[in-house]
């Protein structure tokens, strides 16, 4: 585990907003030199703290008007293996995120669709037919915000 100082936190907060920032700009924002900023980013990347980048796309403009969070409970735990379920659910292109969880459900899924009828198609043809899928709960996302997390 790596210890962060205030400069590291400032760098991470800035990169969470814009991962394309150059070392020069990062340095200016955080009040350090370009070379120090570059070394800090390198260290954070090598330590695995920065694990990658994600494109921020306007989903609606691209025709994906609906995001749904699903809770899925496996039906007969002995019969279908977790591996079969996980392999099949991962292969569905509309499924963006799959998390194995403990609680009322076994899996949490994030699903995108063009609209509600497209979502219904994905749900009926791809989700409900997954090996082992039992109870499914769907909640349609109305709004979403990402916070910086514990970097304060």
């Amino acid at each position: 585990m790596i210890d962060l100082d205030e400069t590291d936190r400032a760098i991470l907060r800035a990169l969470q907003q814009d991962a394309t920032l150059t070392a020069a700009k990062l340095g200016r924002q955080s009040g350090i030199s370009q070379s120090v900023a570059w070394r800090r980013v390198k260290r954070l990347t090598e330590a695995g703290v920065i694990k990658g980048r994600r494109l921020d796309l306007d989903k609606e403009v691209l025709g994906f008007g609906v995001t749904v969070f699903l809770g899925v409970k496996l039906a007969a735990k002995g019969r279908a293996s977790l591996e079969d379920f996980e392999r099949a659910v991962t292969a569905i292109p509309e499924v963006q995120t799959v998390q194995h969880v403990l609680g009322r459900y076994d899996y949490r899924l994030r699903v995108v669709a063009r609209d509600l009828s497209d979502f219904e198609r994905v749900l009926r043809r791809r989700i409900m037919t997954l090996p082992g899928a039992g109870e499914v709960e769907a909640n349609v996302v109305l709004s979403e915000e990402r916070r910086p997390g514990p970097l304060g």
Binding site: Q16, G52, R53, N139, V141, L142, P148, G149, P150, L151
Partner: protein, 151 residues
């Protein structure tokens, strides 16, 4: 507005946002100058809003991630706004979603360990306004996390 070339570029860029325009153009089978122009156009049109760094919270010692599904008191007209305003003040809250469904609001809460989680839960979560019910899903593993659109 978008044609096949745009979609192809975005598809390849989603897979590896850090790649150079030259590499992206090669992978997408278009000239680099064309790729450059298309990306500029997509940015100008607001389709391509930017790139965000993804942080591995485990690497920072946050081993516990909990998905809290909250029901709010809907007889209180300001329940959503007031709940969210206070939830934003909790640094360990990394995501806030509102829903149409059985669940009203969902929070992702990050904690160093179970003891730390318990502390946050008691002092910062249960004290949030207008909560009727909270249900927790404890994250075990992430099987897929691409958040790429099926373009």
């Amino acid at each position: 507005m978008l044609d096949d070339t745009d979609r192809r570029l975005l598809r390849h860029l989603q897979a590896d946002p850090a790649q150079s325009v030259a590499d992206l153009a090669r992978a997408s089978g278009v000239a680099a100058s064309k790729a450059y122009k298309r990306l500029e156009r997509l940015e100008a049109a607001g389709v391509l809003k930017g790139q965000r760094a993804v942080i591995d919270w485990r690497a920072l010692g946050y081993a516990v991630e909990v998905s809290l599904r909250v029901s709010l008191d809907k007889t209180e007209p300001r329940a959503f706004d007031e709940f969210i305003a206070v939830a934003r003040e909790v640094p360990e809250v990394s995501e806030i979603q509102t829903f149409l469904g059985r669940v009203d609001v969902r929070l992702t809460v990050l904690a160093r360990d179970m003891r730390h989680y318990q502390e946050i839960y008691r002092s910062r979560i249960l004290t949030l306004p207008h909560i009727v019910d909270v249900e927790a899903l404890m994250h075990v593993t992430t099987i897929k996390d691409v958040e790429a659109l099926p373009l």
